[in-house]
Assembly symmetry: C2
Homo-oligomer: 266 residues x 2
């Protein structure tokens, strides 16, 4: 009966719905319970201690919902809190960081990789450690891009302001000579077109959401936890705050209507 | 002995230190206890219910510190939570909204006023109600500017990206014919130069922080609560999270070194 349980996913907000979107593509029968900590978002500008404290609360909430596996669909929480959560927890806990790092290490030919993310993600150096753990002689260029999240939330996806900010952040990448760039924040895949235009077509953009869904599929298979029931799995979304334009922005990430949404206080 | 007590100030983050800066200019002898709810910031993108819940926690913390008056140095909290806080509380509670609205109503000759702020502040319509409560035939143009806070925190105060975003948000103001613009967010006074360049010198920029400090001075005098002790009052800053670059950004707002900082969990 373990296999019939839901997959739990949490993020600081609703950007993690990009991971849910990828999960529904690879694992359409799975039930998914998502928690977005929208009352405390963003995590990306906060200290590691605070991010760990919030992450523990989110994980406890999902465990209470009887999930079989937990995805930390937030790059910041994956960077600064994941090892501790995995130590403390018996259920499998999967972050978005390692799948992205592995994909980047695999595709680079120049052995030079770029990583962009929130301030907290970049300053944790978690991607650098993960990448060098996989391929020790990799050279890595990193850049926090704090303007990208509000630009995505404004919906300015193809816009001269976004292009100018993207150039400011990413032009040094060409000089560095990377041929792979990890999009280390769940919001960033929505800027793929503009980022690709700035960094050039020879740079592979690594979308952690997609890589994470593949990892979840592997872990479920290995442990015999894949849901073999037919039909489409239900997606339930819990949020700690329902802010203005929540549905519009959420559906941009999930790429389908948000149907079952509940407000909870943690 | 009531007069010897501190003034309590809270904000969602450290932007409210602009209000503290103005208080120290008008009331140098006053002791100030500041609480920045940096673990839950920003409030500006969240729902009114959540902002009220957080504001009550902040107010309780300051009351516990035995303050004589409380300043809500956050435009979002002043817009969506202040009336409830004032009802529930015996101490005088002063927001940043009314002082700014009064100043704008006073200076406009065209009877057309602009207001900019966070998404939550603008969608609460609190400034519109306050302004029309003062001068019923005022016409009001409003605009949320969600890019401004991250631009200030990047330190891009005089920058082509900031100029482009400012034009996007504020060029309609000229057509509307306003001669006063309320800077309805504590971060915005740091963009005064660029905003003034875009809207033109004939538009008066109303800085709520300065007006609020004047209001606090009046209320203390009326109630005989002004601290008559000599010397410079101590400023103690409590924050619910100490994020990366906290000191650098905080000192940009306070315009002096941050000396007594403590981390608290609420």
């Amino acid at each position: 009966m373990e296999a019939r349980k839901a997959i739990g996913v949490f993020d600081s907000g609703i950007g993690g719905l990009t991971v849910v979107h990828e999960l529904t593509r690879s694992l359409p029968h799975e039930e998914i319970i998502y928690l977005g900590d929208t009352a405390r978002l963003p995590y990306g500008t906060k200290s590691p201690e605070t991010v760990l404290r919030f992450s523990r609360k989110n994980l406890d909430f999902l465990k209470h919902k009887q999930v079989k596996l937990i995805v930390v669909a937030c790059n910041t929480a994956s960077s600064v809190a994941l090892p501790r959560l995995q130590e403390e927890e018996e259920l499998p806990v999967i972050g978005v960081l390692m799948p992205g790092a592995r994909a980047a290490a695999l595709v680079t030919k120049t052995k030079r990789v770029g990583v962009i993310g929130t301030t907290a993600t970049i300053h944790s150096s978690a991607y650098v450690k993960a990448l060098q753990g996989i391929t020790p002689d990799l050279e890595i260029w990193t850049q926090p891009c704090p303007l990208f999240v509000p630009l995505v939330e404004e919906g300015w996806l193809d816009d001269p302001i976004t292009e100018l900010a993207t150039k400011r952040y990413l032009e040094p990448l060409a000089e560095f000579g990377a041929d792979a760039l990890v999009l280390g924040c769940t919001h960033y895949p929505l800027l793929k077109d503009i980022i690709s235009r700035v960094v050039g077509p020879e740079v592979v953009l690594v979308d952690s959401a997609r890589e994470t869904a593949a990892e979840v599929m592997n872990v479920l298979e290995e442990r015999g936890l894949t849901n073999d029931r037919g039909g489409t799995g239900r997606i339930t979304v819990y949020v700690t705050d329902i802010p203005y334009r929540f549905k519009e922005v959420g559906e941009r990430f999930l790429r389908r209507p948000l149907e079952h949404v509940e407000h909870v206080e943690l």
